[in-house]
């Protein structure tokens, strides 16, 4: 008998007032009882609309049916057969725009909480099931290199390792994980979970070499010379953008990447770590994506009295996940939508002491189909802030394309690939994730890594036949 409640089974969350000052996870996740209750809202539709909304095709009704029966390990196995990082995607996927947007239950009421169920299965298995030691695949004698240990690279590496390839991942940072480690904060994605997933890959036999900046210490061509038969480039889109307004060189102006890296990767919020970070009184975060939400909520947790999100369109156009916007509002982040920074003001010592903003209104739709923001003349005003964080987007780092002859990129700096096979313009070199699409999502990066792994396998088999 399906549970006909129009609403998702509520999940326990930390009180907004408390969590706004700590880095512990916001959402506590379902208990087994809650998960089974929520799972029984699923109608097990024949045509599976939810699955079509999932970029990696998780067999959603199948895994949910196992949850209904309390067979959590089996449910997890179903998810894991197409999605290598369920604990991660269950937490950070924009479900409302993917699987859940297609769910039949969403027509009258709320869709099934697919994301929460996915997360539950992964957490349950991690916490309760002694991981049967993974059987190492039999090596097939072929070596593949992966550049970048973000979700795209890790997924590609995992899939290839399962097929028997000897895979080495080269990562520039001292820690694997990409944005999952340096960008997304602990309160949304605990780092122990990312590490757990990475340990699983190592058990599969994937070799992860950190502190290796490809394009500097070794070039792509040198990797090929070293006997790697194919290379997957998953180097992400880490290059921050600034607005080009006056005052961006003042002390107290951060790119979101720097701010978040200091906090997440370098643990600047913990006293016994050496990396410093500014303790701000009043912070303006420019932008409206997940990155802006993460920077704003981190600033709040570091003790700021006021944290503003400055976004030039309206709430409806905000690209951030709905849940994060909602959480940010609950935590007291002040949303100044239809506002745009004009100039950052500094005191006589070159420290940020304010920001001049202008009000915006929505005009005609632009090529993206969204109504374009237009400044309201004469509406400038001063915002009292001592820190400004720019979260207005990133583009792919030029390091690899500029040191790899024959690797084509488009004018936005994204690597050009054949979308079917993820092959670049250079023989034996594949690419995917943000390095190809520009800043996108974890699940799309994983999807690209998977696709590339399959085609790399085909390519190497074909070549050796």
């Amino acid at each position: 008998m399906p549970n006909m409640s129009p609403n998702k089974t509520p999940v326990t969350e930390q009180d907004p007032k408390v969590r706004a000052r700590n880095f512990k996870e916001v959402t506590l996740g379902y208990t087994p009882e809650q998960a089974m209750l929520e799972a029984s809202r699923c109608l097990n539709c024949k045509n599976r609309p939810c699955t079509t909304g999932c970029p990696v095709g998780v067999k959603i009704p199948d895994f949910i049916a196992k949850v209904v029966e309390g067979r959590f390990e089996e449910a997890y196995a179903v998810i894991k057969s197409t999605n290598s990082l369920p604990a991660v995607t269950g937490r950070v996927c924009p479900q409302e725009r993917q699987c859940e947007s297609k769910c039949v239950r969403g027509v009258k009421g709320e869709p099934v909480a697919i994301g929460r169920l996915e997360r539950f299965c992964a957490d349950y298995v991690r916490e309760n099931c002694s991981s049967a030691s993974i059987e190492k695949p039999v090596l097939n004698g072929h070596k593949v290199a992966v550049v970048g240990a973000g979700p795209s690279g890790l997924t590609c590496a995992g899939d290839l390792a399962k097929l028997g390839y000897d895979v080495s991942v080269f990562e520039a940072f001292h820690t694997a994980g990409g944005v999952l480690m340096y960008g997304i904060p602990e309160f949304r994605l605990p780092k122990a979970i990312v590490s757990h997933e990475i340990d699983g890959l190592k058990e599969l036999g994937v070799d992860i070499e950190t502190n290796m900046v490809i394009g500097k210490v070794l070039s792509i061509d040198e990797l090929l010379e070293r006997g790697y038969e194919a290379i997957f480039v998953g180097s992400g889109a880490g290059l921050p953008r600034f607005m080009g307004i006056e005052g961006e060189g003042l002390v107290g102006v951060y790119s979101a990447n720097e701010y978040l890296t200091r906090i997440n990767l370098m643990k600047a919020y913990l006293d016994d770590y050496d990396t410093p970070i500014k303790r701000s009184r009043s912070v303006a975060v420019c932008g409206g994506g997940n990155v802006a939400m993460d920077a704003a909520r981190s600033a709040m947790r570091l003790g700021a009295e006021h944290v503003y999100i400055i976004y030039r369109r309206s709430l409806d156009e905000m690209p951030a996940r709905k849940e994060e916007v909602h959480h940010a509002m609950e935590e007291g982040i002040e949303f100044l939508v239809l506002n745009n920074p004009v100039k950052i003001d500094g005191d006589e010592n070159g420290n940020v002491c304010g920001m001049t903003c202008i009000k915006m209104e929505l005009g005609e739709p632009d090529e993206s189909g969204r109504r374009s923001p237009v400044a309201v003349e004469g509406s400038e005003y001063e915002l009292d802030v001592d820190t400004v964080i720019m979260a207005i987007g990133t583009s792919p780092n030029p390091l690899i394309r500029s040191t790899t002859p024959g690797l084509e990129a488009n004018k936005r700096g994204c690597l050009v690939v054949d979308e079917e096979s993820m092959r670049t313009s250079k023989d034996a070199v594949y690419a995917g994730g943000d390095a190809v699409t520009g800043a996108a999502t974890v699940i799309l990066a994983m999807g690209a890594g998977k696709k590339a792994a399959a085609h790399i396998d085909e390519y190497i088999k074909h070549k050796n036949n």
Binding site: H174, L218, E248, V251, M266
Partner: protein, 277 residues
């Protein structure tokens, strides 16, 4: 893990270490740097590679103990390990074509960074005046190495306790006045020193390269923390530099931004501020 193969104390604030890092040693060129993280809780700190030994797979760093992170490094000994070393980062120095004579100007521990430049140019057959400035005699470092890597070594001390009495800028001006025709000047040291060297060379239109030392995190162009304004545009010192045309650098902004954490760093040795590289 990266093993410390050798440690030499050059003066009471400056230490030389040879570190086993064969990949980096094989690739590094003058002007490039590494970033180290001494242990799990450490910051990521940039240091120039002062020398490298491809045969033994070691790189040499020479650093001044400034604050907590360099003190932690200084506390390690031969045979100990550094958790992370990444490099070579940055673009190797590119010199003007057909140069015949240059002045390489180093200030304090900056001499350690000027030294590989001088050595490389000297080996290329360029006539090198190496002007090395220190506050006083007791902190002069790597004098023998510098002598060997240049055609003329001019040691200057602020207090006159050794060599030429005066700042490196005074010496440089004297050499120019004395008829030295420089195709290029390379200045490496504290930001104010580099700024004033540029002031000396500007009227003569002598191209002046400076090696900038903004605060860094990743060193790959990801965080934007190392941005400097050059010719009115944003540049990232870690990937576009660290060398830039000194006549176009906004030094005042760099000085301000390098002071971002000055009040916060717990064990910062204040009287050394001017000497942070």
């Amino acid at each position: 893990m990266f093993r410390i193969a050798q440690k030499r104390i050059l003066n009471d604030q400056v230490i030389l270490m040879k570190i086993e890092a064969p990949y980096i040693a094989a690739k590094v060129d003058a002007g490039q740097f590494i970033i180290y993280r001494v242990d799990e809780r450490g910051e990521r700190v940039p240091l120039t590679v002062a020398d490298s030994d491809k045969v033994n797979g070691t790189i040499t760093i020479i650093f001044q103990t400034v604050g907590g992170s360099t003190q932690k490094l200084a506390a390690l000994n031969e045979g100990d390990y550094i958790l992370d070393v990444v490099g070579p980062l940055g673009v190797a120095t590119e010199y003007e074509k057909d140069i015949k004579r240059v002045a390489v100007v180093g200030g304090g521990v900056g001499c350690a960074i000027a030294y590989p430049q001088s050595k490389k140019l000297h080996n290329m057959g360029v006539y090198v005046d190496l002007i090395a400035g220190f506050r006083s005699k007791d902190i002069v470092i790597i004098e023998d190495e510098m002598k060997e890597a240049s055609d003329a070594l001019h040691i200057c001390t602020d207090d006159g306790s050794y060599g030429y009495h005066g700042f490196v800028t005074n010496k440089l001006q004297e050499l120019i006045d004395g008829g030295a025709k420089y195709d290029e000047v390379i200045a490496i040291g504290p930001v104010p020193m580099m700024k004033f060297v540029c002031k000396v060379t500007e009227p003569y239109g002598i191209k002046t390269l400076v090696s900038l030392n903004p605060i860094m995190v990743d060193g790959t162009g990801m965080c934007g923390g190392c941005r400097v304004t050059v010719d009115g545009k944003i540049k990232y010192a870690c990937v576009d530099g660290p060398d830039f045309d000194g006549h176009k650098v906004d030094f005042d902004e760099l000085m301000r931004r390098n002071g971002t954490y000055r009040n916060q760093e717990k064990s910062h040795v204040c009287n050394l501020t001017g000497e942070v590289r």
